[in-house]
Structure formats: structure tokens, C-alpha cells
């Protein structure tokens, strides 16, 4: 465990969050609503973590990441036969590969820019995609499309979980979240990750060390987009439908707020940020109809109080950098 998670705060988070997340549904089993709510938080955390890697570790600020979240859901409905239960694992692979291919094309265009221009161009491309799906009758317009047959999850003839059981699906999503965290930690801890750190800090200096900065940024963009699409695919399976709101700029904006709130670039902070944001959202909307005003005030207060996000605050508290 210490191989992947070197910081004390990370280890503490892993040992507190995941056991708690494992046990929590056992107390909520009677109430399917809460299990579904937790599942959607976990799925969104996978998406936020992919954005957190791009923004916090690669210095690529995008407001178009939701396009891949939405595409993950749409791709499944578009490529899977309507009245046949396809294999979950095979289609997970297809969706990630297709999303990666789309990201490769989009990335070649988008990554020629940086800073505010990158924000603009990613926003423009995502909005083009949003309006395309909103205005297309064949894609269900604003209502979106429905999944008529959920995939079959068997692997080599053995079914490990049932997609129709909310508890099974919750645990599968939690495992996916853990795997994604390990994956990103492997990436950031590798030589590739070090080079991306250097690219983020000073691209020209990294170029002068003989690295093709564009290629490294493109690979990072492709990986993050594929995992964003995976999160979108899980969301579509959970609710049984997709609609264009998944790829709206508000979805990217919320994810960016969650990443900043959690502590940009810390990866596990993306999970913290998502949980805190969604927790506040749920708690406040039951208090008053002006909950957004309260939410805004709380987010401003937290950003002012925790300048490096919740993860940064905890790290300052629990450990000091040498």
C-alpha cells in the first residue's frame, strides 16, 4: 500500500474512506435511494479524478471534459444492439478505446493551444457536441436515449455481480474508483508522470531535455478522456439512460470546482472534493430553496480557508514537506 500511497495523509484517507464506503451501504440497505445516491457520487468521483489529473498534474485546464463523460454513455447505446444483453467487459473495452480514439483527434486540435485559449476551445468543442445531441431527433434530443437491455457481467462464464442490484453496482463502482486511484498513482509515480510534472512546470525546458511535449500532453489527454468516458458509461448503466446534460459545460464546471475544493492534483482530493460538494448539495437543497446561494458562500469560504484544497489542508496538518 505504501508503494502506491507514499504520503501519510493519503494512507489515512485510504484506510478511512474505503472501509467506511464499504460499510455505509449496509446501514442504508433498506433505502435504495441512498445507495443510488452514493453510487452516483462514486461514479462522478471517477470523472472528477480524471479531470484532476489533467488540470492538477498536467496543467491542462479544460471546460470540455464533460463531452467524454456524455460520450461514454452515448457510445454504449449507439454501438450495443438494442434488444440484446451484450458483455459488460467487452463493451467497457470498446467504449474506452472509442473514447480514446475521439480524444486523440480532439486532442490534436485542442493541445495546439494552452491557458485561456485551451479553455475556450475545449468549451467550444464540448458545446458543439452538446447541441448536436440536443438537436438530433435520432439521438433523442433533450430527453436523450434509454438503455433497454443492461449488459451481462459474466466473465469466463462466471457472473460476479448483477447490474440490476443497486448494492452490487455500488460495490463495483467503488472498486472501479479504487482501481482508478491506483491507476493514476501508477501513472504519476512513473517516469511518464515525472516528465508530465516537468511539462506542467516548464514545457520549453522539458523540450530542451529532448521530450516531445505535445505527445506527452496528448497521451495524458487521451488517458483522462477514456476514464471520463468510463465514468459516463457507468452513469448510463446506473440510471438506464443518457441525455445531453451529461456533456453540458455545467458538468465540467462542477467537476472543476470539486477538484479545486479537494486539492487540485492530489488525486485522492478529487474524491474528497466530490464527496464534500455532493454532501453539501444534498444537505442544503433540503434546507432552503435558495440553497445555491448558501452553497456558493460555503465554497467561497472553503476556497479561502483551504488554499491548497481539503487535501492540502490535511497534508499541512499531518505532515510537513522536507
Amino acid at each position: 500500500m505504501t508503494y502506491f500511497f507514499g504520503k501519510k495523509t493519503e494512507q489515512l484517507f485510504i484506510w478511512l474512506f474505503f472501509p467506511l464506503a464499504l460499510l455505509l451501504p449496509l446501514f442504508l440497505e433498506q433505502n435504495e435511494f441512498y445507495v443510488n445516491k452514493l453510487t452516483s457520487v462514486v461514479i462522478f468521483a471517477i470523472f472528477v479524478m480524471s479531470l484532476d489529473y489533467l488540470v492538477g498534474r498536467c496543467g491542462m485546464i479544460t471546460l470540455g471534459h464533460s463531452m467524454f463523460y456524455g460520450l461514454g454513455g452515448y457510445l454504449f447505446i449507439l454501438i450495443a444492439p438494442e434488444f440484446e444483453a451484450v458483455n459488460f467487459w467487452v463493451y467497457t473495452f470498446y467504449i474506452c478505446v472509442l473514447a480514446a480514439a475521439i480524444a486523440l483527434v480532439v486532442g490534436v486540435i485542442v493541445l495546439r493551444t494552452s491557458g485561456v485559449y485551451m479553455i475556450m476551445i475545449t468549451l467550444a468543442i464540448a458545446q458543439m457536441c452538446f447541441y448536436f445531441f440536443s438537436d438530433s431527433v435520432e439521438f433523442g434530443g433533450n430527453d436523450g436515449l434509454f438503455i433497454l437491455m443492461k449488459p451481462d457481467t459474466s466473465l469466463f462464464g462466471l457472473a460476479f455481480f448483477n447490474l440490476d442490484d443497486p448494492l452490487h453496482f455500488y460495490y463495483f463502482c467503488l472498486l472501479s474508483l479504487f482501481n482508478c486511484l491506483v491507476f493514476w498513482k501508477l501513472v504519476t509515480g512513473s517516469r511518464f508522470g515525472r516528465i508530465m510534472e516537468a511539462v506542467k512546470d516548464n514545457p520549453q525546458r522539458t523540450t530542451a531535455l529532448g521530450y516531445n511535449v505535445f505527445l506527452f500532453r496528448l497521451l495524458s489527454y487521451v488517458m483522462a478522456s477514456a476514464l471520463a468516458a468510463y465514468a459516463g458509461y457507468l452513469f448510463a448503466l446506473q440510471y438506464g439512460f443518457v441525455n445531453p446534460s451529461m456533456m453540458s459545460w455545467q458538468t465540467s464546471g462542477s467537476a472543476l470546482v470539486m477538484s479545486i475544493l479537494g486539492g487540485m492534483g492530489s488525486l485522492y482530493g478529487a474524491i474528497l472534493g466530490t464527496v464534500v460538494y455532493e454532501g453539501l448539495h444534498y444537505s442544503l437543497e433540503h434546507l432552503t430553496e435558495h440553497w445555491l446561494l448558501l452553497m456558493g458562500c460555503l465554497i467561497i469560504a472553503m476556497v479561502m480557508l483551504f488554499k491548497a484544497g481539503i487535501a492540502g489542508f490535511l497534508e499541512n496538518l499531518l505532515e510537513r514537506r522536507k
Binding site: R191, R194, I195, E197, A198, K200, D201, N202, Q204, R205, T207, A208, L209, G210, Y211, N212, V213, R321, K322
Partner: protein, 238 residues
């Protein structure tokens, strides 16, 4: 017949916007040779380096490395041909430790050459070995310079370019850095050293080039430098 030069720069004209900075600079480095590039501040030394590395696109002129025209190649490809650059100001990455700086830079040179590896760099710079877990920016100026040189050596280059390697360092640390550069030079790597310290450079380098207002005003060996010392000191003094 003269051997094929390692680096041949011919007629380099570079601009910053409309400002004409380099006026037809020529430079040649033979394999195993050390060349000093001298000049007062603002005479075009760093611009010459940036132009030959592709960090600044010259309007005209050619850059050949090992007989191959690399003038149209992007910077990263030129570096992969066997050039290593230690920039002015050391160029530390703020978020990487000493160990990570060295690990991210390490790669074989052309033809799989692996003369410099992690252990050899740490043996050459023992002070870095004591600071492996420190961030690059937490090192002293001298240690940062050692790290920048070590990082460049780990790319196993044919040509090492050092831009103002001793700038802003204390005299004792400067002496240490010059000793390190002499050690690297003795290992057979060709070097291009940009500096103003004529006393050290005349002992360390085989050839010397002086730039004044973006033009080469002197290009000769150490004996020529010695013969024209007063004129060269005049070009270098403020």
C-alpha cells in the same frame, strides 16, 4: 583533410520581433573539442544558443549536427540527436526532487550510448547523493548547477552546452563547478561554454569565439586568444 564537424552553424540571422539580434553568426565545433562563446551581456550569446537549439527560429542560416541538417527539426528532436543544454538560471523544475530530476532525464544517447548513468552522476556529484529527496529548488545555487549538469549528462550527449554555468555563484562554488566541467571535458564530451571568465576559459577550451552586437568578431584557438588578449578583454569589458 579536416574531420566532419560535430556542429556547424552558418550565417545565423535571428530576430526578436523586428529587432535584428544575430547578424550571420558562424560557429564550428569538432568532435571532442571545447568551444567558448564569450561576449558582454546583450551581445547575442544566449540568442545564438536558442537559435541553434530551435528554441528561437532563426530567419536564415543553417545548423548541421554530425553532418545532418537539423535546422528544420523541432527542439526535442535536435536534443535527441545528441545535444544537451544546461540553461542559464539552472532550469530546475519546482515540483521534482533531485532523484526525480535525474530519473526523468536519463536516457541512452545516440547508438544506445550509455556512458553516463545514475550511479556515475552521483559519484561525480556526491553532494547530490546526500540531497536526493530534496526538491531541486531547495538546493543551493552550486548544487542546482551540479544537478543541471548531471541531468544533462544523463542524456548521454555528444555535445554539452552550458549557458553561464557559474553566473551568480560564490567564488569557491565557481571553482568547484569549473572543476566539474573540466572533469566532463576530460571524459571526451564536446562542450560549448558560454561565459565571461576569460582566465578559466582559455585553459579549459580549445577554441574561442567572441560576439559583439550579434556578430563574430573573433574566432581562434587559445594561442590566438593569448595573442589578442588586450583587444578581447576590451570587447568583454563594460
Amino acid at each position: 583533410m579536416q574531420a566532419q564537424p560535430l556542429l556547424a552553424v552558418r550565417g545565423l540571422h535571428s530576430f526578436y520581433g523586428e529587432s535584428h539580434v544575430l547578424h550571420g553568426v558562424d560557429l564550428t565545433i569538432q568532435p571532442g573539442q571545447a568551444l567558448s562563446l564569450m561576449g558582454r551581456n546583450g551581445m547575442g550569446k544566449t540568442t545564438t544558443l536558442k537559435s541553434l537549439l530551435g528554441l528561437l527560429q532563426p530567419r536564415s542560416g543553417s545548423v548541421e549536427f554530425l553532418g545532418r541538417d537539423v535546422g528544420k527539426l523541432p527542439t526535442w528532436k535536435r536534443m535527441r540527436e545528441g545535444i544537451a543544454y544546461v540553461p542559464e538560471g539552472r532550469g530546475m523544475f519546482h515540483n521534482l526532487t533531485v532523484k526525480e530530476h535525474l530519473q526523468m532525464a536519463a536516457r541512452p544517447g545516440i547508438g544506445g550510448k550509455l556512458e553516463w548513468d545514475y550511479d556515475r552522476v552521483l559519484a561525480t556529484f556526491p553532494r547530490l547523493a546526500e540531497r536526493l529527496t530534496n526538491l531541486g529548488t531547495q538546493l543551493s545555487g552550486g548544487e542546482q548547477q551540479m544537478l543541471a549538469i548531471g541531468r544533462a549528462l544523463l542524456t548521454n550527449p555528444e555535445l554539452l552546452i552550458l549557458d553561464e554555468a557559474t553566473e551568480g555563484l560564490a567564488p569557491l562554488i565557481r571553482k568547484e563547478i569549473w572543476e566539474v566541467i573540466a572533469h566532463v571535458r576530460a571524459s571526451g564530451i564536446s562542450t560549448l561554454i558560454v561565459d565571461k571568465n576569460i582566465e578559466v576559459l582559455k585553459n579549459l577550451c580549445d577554441r574561442h569565439v567572441v560576439l559583439v552586437k550579434g556578430q563574430v568578431v573573433f574566432d581562434g584557438d587559445t594561442q590566438d586568444l593569448q595573442d589578442n588578449l588586450s583587444q578581447i578583454e576590451c570587447w568583454l569589458s563594460v
